[in-house]
């Protein structure tokens, strides 16, 4: 078992990608580097019928490390500044283009780039205590990992505008009525619900 911020398991033909920096599973530089490695060298070789993305512990992810982000965006090297962001977007985008269902199981906080990761998945199943949002405007930022593109395409442009401009978070039930998540279940049922969904989607294949 490695100590990487992202770990991959496989069982019963389903891969499980787990964010492993509990409790917050914050997405710092090490996380994104690990994801880029995963995208380049692990993902292409996976022969599975589904992928479940989840966070270890109480939360899915609290999002990016804001202080580290500031350092990177104010760095002076031309090209380096946007390269890391393009890399992050490409990493999440890689999940959106796989030939099998990708299901995010969301407990606790799923904020900022954490939600952007979940948005890149095909489905989102939330626990009752889940809290989802894109709070970047509260830091004087805007979502930078696909949130302004994926959220309106998922829940409609007006609702997405309202959520992103206010930076507010929604609980699981509101997320369900918005279409931001596809189901709300007991926390202990997250994994089994995701597996059942993948089974149903791939049964005829």
């Amino acid at each position: 078992m490695t100590n990487d911020p992202i770990q991959l398991y496989e069982s019963n033909g389903i891969a499980r990608l787990m964010l492993c920096r509990p409790p917050r599973n914050e997405m710092d530089g090490a996380f994104f580097q690990c994801f880029a490695r995963f995208r380049a060298s692990v993902l292409p070789g996976l022969r599975v019928r589904g992928l479940i993305v989840s966070g270890q512990g109480r939360h899915f992810s609290s999002g990016a490390n804001v202080a580290e982000l500031k350092t990177q965006v104010t760095a002076n090297e031309e090209g380096a500044r946007t390269a890391f962001l393009d890399d992050n977007i490409a990493s999440f985008d890689a999940l959106a283009c796989l030939p099998y269902p990708v299901v995010a199981t969301v407990g606790g906080c799923c904020l900022g780039s954490g939600l952007e990761l979940a948005l890149a998945c095909n489905y989102r199943i939330a626990a009752r205590n889940a809290l989802l949002g894109l709070p970047e405007v509260q830091f004087g930022l805007m979502p930078g990992c696909g949130g302004t593109v994926r959220l309106p395409r998922l829940i409609g442009r007006g609702k997405a505008m309202e959520m992103i401009l206010t930076g507010r978070s929604v609980l699981a039930d509101e997320a369900l009525s918005l279409g931001l998540v596809d189901a709300v279940v007991e926390r202990r049922a997250l994994a089994s619900t995701a597996e059942l969904l993948i089974d149903r989607l791939t049964a005829a294949a």
Binding site: L69, V137, M142, V149
Partner: protein, 243 residues
């Protein structure tokens, strides 16, 4: 029909005026250059679209339309041009809120749907009644409605030609809030404050532009553009601690 422009405290107001029902006498209901200049004003933090008097807009003036149909090529071109006007609302980089009082029907609803949000008074009447007249919505309604309500809802909205009260419109998702008629103006301002108060205007514009790209660019291009906008925003101002 007259279109009146006014700016006060950073809120731009566009008033449609053709009393009593503010019917549109022509699809090109405003001058494009003037409308664009108004919406691009960097001092604006939001725009309110409203009708003069007691109604928002009851739709196209059917007598005028009847006359205009005598020159089908001209009216065809005018409808296309009018839709490009509505695109100015749709792709404006500040929030555009329709303040809907009274009748909001046909082209009036299509105009309101081109806005980002709709706040309706309790007595508003909302619908696309064109099919009841043997016509169909020709001002973008069949498409714009799909941004706010599911496709099946759009089909029943258009094919039934029904006119909905404000609460029912809220339930359908056609409007975002219903308020007492006397409170409409203050509630619209509160709605705007909740969206943009304390946000740097450049941040709001960057967010809006990126959201618009989600439906007018292919995904990859929109994502790349988001990165560029993110960098501009981050460079401008960045407080790691929540206020």
């Amino acid at each position: 029909m007259e279109v009146l422009y006014n700016v006060e405290d950073g809120i731009g107001r566009i008033t449609l005026s053709n009393p009593p029902h503010n019917t549109l006498t022509h699809p090109v209901f405003a001058g494009r250059a003037q409308m664009k200049a108004f919406l691009d004003d960097p001092s604006l933090r939001a725009v309110v679209v409203r009708g003069a008097g007691r109604h928002f807009c009851a739709g196209a003036d059917l007598e005028c339309l009847g006359d205009q149909l005598a020159d089908p090529d001209a009216i065809h071109a005018a409808l296309d041009e009018g839709k490009r006007l509505l695109d100015l609302f749709r792709y404006a980089t500040v929030p555009v809120i329709a303040a809907v009082r009274g009748s909001c029907l046909g082209a009036g609803l299509e105009l309101a749907l081109a806005c980002h949000f709709r706040v309706a008074s309790a007595h508003a009447l909302i619908g696309l009644p064109e099919t009841g007249h043997g016509a169909m919505p020709g001002f973008g309604g069949t498409l714009l409605a799909q941004d706010t309500i599911p496709r099946a809802g759009v089909m029943s909205l258009v094919l039934s030609g029904r006119e909905f009260g404000a609460e029912e419109a809220l339930g359908l998702g056609l409007v975002d809030r219903v308020v007492a008629t006397k409170d409409l103006d203050t509630e619209v301002e509160r709605f705007i404050d909740a969206l943009v108060d304390n946000r740097p205007p450049s941040l709001v514009r960057a967010v809006m532009e990126s959201i618009h790209n989600a439906d007018r660019m292919p995904r990859e291009e929109a994502l790349q553009r988001e990165t560029a906008l993110f960098m501009e925003v981050a460079r401008e101002g960045f407080q790691p601690d929540t206020p």
